[in-house]
Symmetry: D2
Subunit: 413 residues, 4 copies
Amino acid sequence: MPTQSEQEKETRRELLEGNIMPETTKQPKRKVRLGIVGGGPGSNIGEAHRYAARLDNRYALVTGVFASDAERSQSFAATLDIAPERRYSSWQEMAEREAQRADGLDVVSIMTPNNSHYAIAKTFLEHGIDVICDKPLTTELEQALELLRLQRQTGLIFGVTYCYSGYPMVRQAREMVRSGELGEIRLVQVEHASGWASTLLEAEGHKQALWRTTPSIAGKSSVVGDLGTHAHHMARFVTGLEISEVSAELSSIVPGRQVDDNAHIKLRFSNGARGMMWASMVATGHWHGLRIRVYGEKGSLEWVQEQPNELVLRPADGRQQILTRGFNWLSPAAQRASRLWPGHPEGYLEAFANLYTDIADAILARRDGLEADALAYLFPTVEDGVLGMKFIDAAVASHQQNGQWTDALVALI
Amino acid sequence: MPTQSEQEKETRRELLEGNIMPETTKQPKRKVRLGIVGGGPGSNIGEAHRYAARLDNRYALVTGVFASDAERSQSFAATLDIAPERRYSSWQEMAEREAQRADGLDVVSIMTPNNSHYAIAKTFLEHGIDVICDKPLTTELEQALELLRLQRQTGLIFGVTYCYSGYPMVRQAREMVRSGELGEIRLVQVEHASGWASTLLEAEGHKQALWRTTPSIAGKSSVVGDLGTHAHHMARFVTGLEISEVSAELSSIVPGRQVDDNAHIKLRFSNGARGMMWASMVATGHWHGLRIRVYGEKGSLEWVQEQPNELVLRPADGRQQILTRGFNWLSPAAQRASRLWPGHPEGYLEAFANLYTDIADAILARRDGLEADALAYLFPTVEDGVLGMKFIDAAVASHQQNGQWTDALVALI
Amino acid sequence: MPTQSEQEKETRRELLEGNIMPETTKQPKRKVRLGIVGGGPGSNIGEAHRYAARLDNRYALVTGVFASDAERSQSFAATLDIAPERRYSSWQEMAEREAQRADGLDVVSIMTPNNSHYAIAKTFLEHGIDVICDKPLTTELEQALELLRLQRQTGLIFGVTYCYSGYPMVRQAREMVRSGELGEIRLVQVEHASGWASTLLEAEGHKQALWRTTPSIAGKSSVVGDLGTHAHHMARFVTGLEISEVSAELSSIVPGRQVDDNAHIKLRFSNGARGMMWASMVATGHWHGLRIRVYGEKGSLEWVQEQPNELVLRPADGRQQILTRGFNWLSPAAQRASRLWPGHPEGYLEAFANLYTDIADAILARRDGLEADALAYLFPTVEDGVLGMKFIDAAVASHQQNGQWTDALVALI
Amino acid sequence: MPTQSEQEKETRRELLEGNIMPETTKQPKRKVRLGIVGGGPGSNIGEAHRYAARLDNRYALVTGVFASDAERSQSFAATLDIAPERRYSSWQEMAEREAQRADGLDVVSIMTPNNSHYAIAKTFLEHGIDVICDKPLTTELEQALELLRLQRQTGLIFGVTYCYSGYPMVRQAREMVRSGELGEIRLVQVEHASGWASTLLEAEGHKQALWRTTPSIAGKSSVVGDLGTHAHHMARFVTGLEISEVSAELSSIVPGRQVDDNAHIKLRFSNGARGMMWASMVATGHWHGLRIRVYGEKGSLEWVQEQPNELVLRPADGRQQILTRGFNWLSPAAQRASRLWPGHPEGYLEAFANLYTDIADAILARRDGLEADALAYLFPTVEDGVLGMKFIDAAVASHQQNGQWTDALVALI
């Protein structure tokens, strides 16, 4: 993927040194044309995607199919200022027609239920359109691998919305690990333990609960697919290590529930590090519960999504530090992911927007024929999506064999 | 000011009961036409305003004069997709020309240095245009009163960006006080103590420091004007009380500084409550420092801007509670000011956006001929701006008389 | 075991209602005669035991063998005001001679290395003397069972110093679970993850590290024996459930170390609840790391040893509470374990002292011929010690079989 | 005052380097003979004093007059193992008779209501006995000055129990200020704001409330005397500065109360620093509320009594640190005031015990003819007591003159 110009980088550096919001980089002149599939009326995640795309002013929402019912979709499209001729009645039509327009969409963002991701993503890739897709990427590993092969063939951009990797202090954690500040990584404790479904919500007609507790829609494991994959990506993103083996216990805690709602998973990492994951939707009293702790030879880091502006560093000597956003001594990756001065909190929408903005920057850079800059684009890709699918498979297989250690890696060629 | 339709309210209520993001209310179909004065290249606050206006998709930025240099302003306007014919060379021209257009701006937002607020706001009001203005409102109380008189004559909407009142948990605090949950208010401790200027930054050419430490630009008191007025509004907003008398000690702490940079102020409130304010730009190690604690007969509340998603309730029996955003047991005012589920943090930009969105809603409601709904629009007004100016005057006068208790109220007729 | 008189209880209740320190109960007139084995010069844990015994003024330290070297032991005994004729040269001599005195010791406290606990405890029991013993109880399960059998035969009091169960807010947690405030328990996450041995201290001659990393002294598993057993007892104490099966991964993380220094253990509880335990001495940057979180149908609790005066309650509705010591709405068990008013912190020594005081109260009550009151004496017993030994065995066996689920219960008859 | 031997210091250093509990220093062989006046049955503070004296095993409680009623006092003395012939019927008798014994008390500790401190302390000093006295020292400044003169004449040891200065991290804060780590001190914000009396407890027969709200017993200002003097000492102890002038607003907040229950005081320090103090007993929902924040050129410190094991350091660059007890990189003064390893919390009793232990060490050192070591003995003295009395007078005088700045210093010769 292409890089930004030296000029842009210089400006960026200059601004950051003064702890100034990086106006130039965050509010560029050019826009990426965005189409959406899913996320219609009443969809929370749909609204979050649209906020994320809008925040840095990098996208023009030009088309979308928001619901399976064409009329419902089109009237929703109207409220989003989409031109009448681009309010399609199906995503198939959207792919076909947009591919023929000179001003057709640059990138499609897919926020439908998991079991439709594969077909939609495949179709748009085949029409030469970049893809942003919700996680888990598909419901079957083989589908995910096929999307990977297609992405490799086409060279298109394919982002997967592991949105928590967009937080500045998560990126700071990653850079601190990469730079060796913690020494060799030894232990990783990661949790995504929410309590949102600690009662049998699905019996009360709660839409999201229904969707996540119906086996045919939720995939092989509801809790690992929905929450465990976020934890999986977080652990890999921060440490730069792969999770090579798992020993899992999946449980269905709430009486009457048809899917697993809690997962306890022991982890082995590619460098020999050990870890644990707890993914849950029945941790009563929790409302989000994503937390990662990484321990190296020289110190450890802790980050909690509910206090996202803070990163706790615990060096071996006991002088605990609380690092926060907005300072020029943070890594460039953390600074670039932030909009505000120190002391002015940012939140979930800003983190989500960082993924959208990174993807837009990659698209714009490619348009300019620029080369890739590893540091510049940290958005999760189809590879991350494939490994997430493999992780689900491995956890389920381990559980079915009474917790036997199971391979969690898959060849990415 | 007009209210929302019953239908809209019903939808809102329904959505909130499910802890769902209020899509309908936050992403309306119609847009308000916005013009900007100030906030050009390199201005942090300019960028924050634009983020705030963009977030909920309620504004179309149609015109703006972003810098005193016309060419610089116009090239910046181009980057913001402003039509060439609406890139004016001065705000005077902008007011005049826009007032004549059928599609002229609905509201101007002023983010220039304090000493120009008065003339700009006055001009736009005289042209029948609603106003959003940064605080402190003016540099002289009499100017602020004149703006108030003009607003009363015209009936136009006039918002002042005491942005911290936009936080959901600040609004929750206000509602809890109003509903009597704390009993009669007895004590208020409020701080806006930052450390951003704890060295002589102005001697190093730091632009913002220069602007805030030059007496002719900063106004009568730099630290009271810049930070104390935020604390003043916060105390009034949350308690619903007026600050009637002050006893102030203003200090210039950093050697070589030409303005006050620290203020210690004892407060007397309109109901007999007592309080203290600390406003500072030399609280080394702090990066924001806005905090309010309100004590009543039955319990107390604490809110800290750097952890804005939390409101601490301390009832008399010692069972401390940490209330957070996103729940349906919060007051409607708090729920409406929030976009995300529990556990998903919001930050400064979302709070700032709430002021812009409230103002847009007020403008749209007036357009529909709807009546005012006190609960719906909580944005600070010109009255708040006037009282802020009086507070600065009172603090300075008290200080000059060695801390004598000084009247801080002014008739608002 | 016997109960306190009704009068004492009444006094206690009266005092507690006024949030007053329970002087009468905490400073009784009569003393228990204490003998010590181990904990000589340079022993931290020895000093902690003596602080704990002294704090509530319930014990007279009348004899002790503090070191294996008789001369060293006796000169240390002199500094502790022990009468010359009771400065014995071995614990065997001490048991024999004290058993013959009319004013012989009531109870012996054993704080020697683990591999000597069994012989010492057995001998004192056989001489009719009550026992307090450090954990882990022995190095072999069979030895622990033999101590249990002996205790059952003799009816003597046998306390095991799982000291963290002495904290008032841990006892409050236990009572809240017992009273059904959380509903049925579903999930338990428990950690005792310290970083004290994250470097190869044993190679630098660090005495405690040497002792804990020499397989013959440390027992079958160093980290499970030293830290895991504390976590094991904490989980059982708070929930009232047994840990019935484990799936363990023990690791030796620090290069060159001869024992395991990290344990990741999945847990199954007697009621079907699921859990995880993390025990570590290589969690770099941690300095204690005991934390328990318990999740029920209706809410959850969290307690962290490093903030021991706080217990976090998270009900399902999201209104998080931070409960603290010293209030009369706490359970009697929590109130009785506390000495100070609300807002005045207590710490580790006070918690440890609660075990000593409970044991003294039990001894004094038996002396008075009073009956047992389950609530009054919450100190851990030989049964807890036995189950801790079985837990170590189960963890090691599971690890050796690649994490296979392994029975962690043993018949206590 | 005398110092410890070099040998003792060496041992201490050695132990500390290993983060080991300083056994030798904390558990000395010799004891100081202690007598008590006040603190009888039902007195919380009496019990706290006795815990503090007992903890480090440095005192033998040999005599005491615990209540004004002789019989009540004597039966209480019996429960404390005081020999029958030393259970006196009045403190006058105790002073006289003990002064004549070869094994008479070394030091008397006074914990009676404020209005009797003067006469008792004077009498014991006149009998050549060292004194420990509760704060506020007296009810009249002139009495305090007379005690100072008497102490100077006799050269006796006179400690005043500003107990919060005994916390290790408070001593660490003091050392960090002294060593220049914060640079010149500029601002001090100190609070002792409790909510214990936020209702009219005195009307319900609450003993402590009655005592503190009856003007003749409470002294000139109840809230400044009871809580403000703690805050006053804390500010002076940590900064090493004197409070030279005050501007005070005293209020009686609870309807029906006869004394002031809230104080807002602006402070000027001897080096030109500025500050604020808030002392309150009506901060509803607070249970202790002592907090100090000190701001220098280079950074700031914050300490809160309710989390006493932590000291927050905020350097100017924003890398906030949370320092905790028990590490060998802490100042010797902080290490010496601590008993436990890192991660094992200490509390109020340990802090209080540090004052008693410091005083015992001073008495023992004098007995050995050793010289003073400034670092070794940090207990507050009669000078601190005198300045506390002057501070009360100054606050009251300022309040009576509508907040006029008033001199808070008094010559200590």
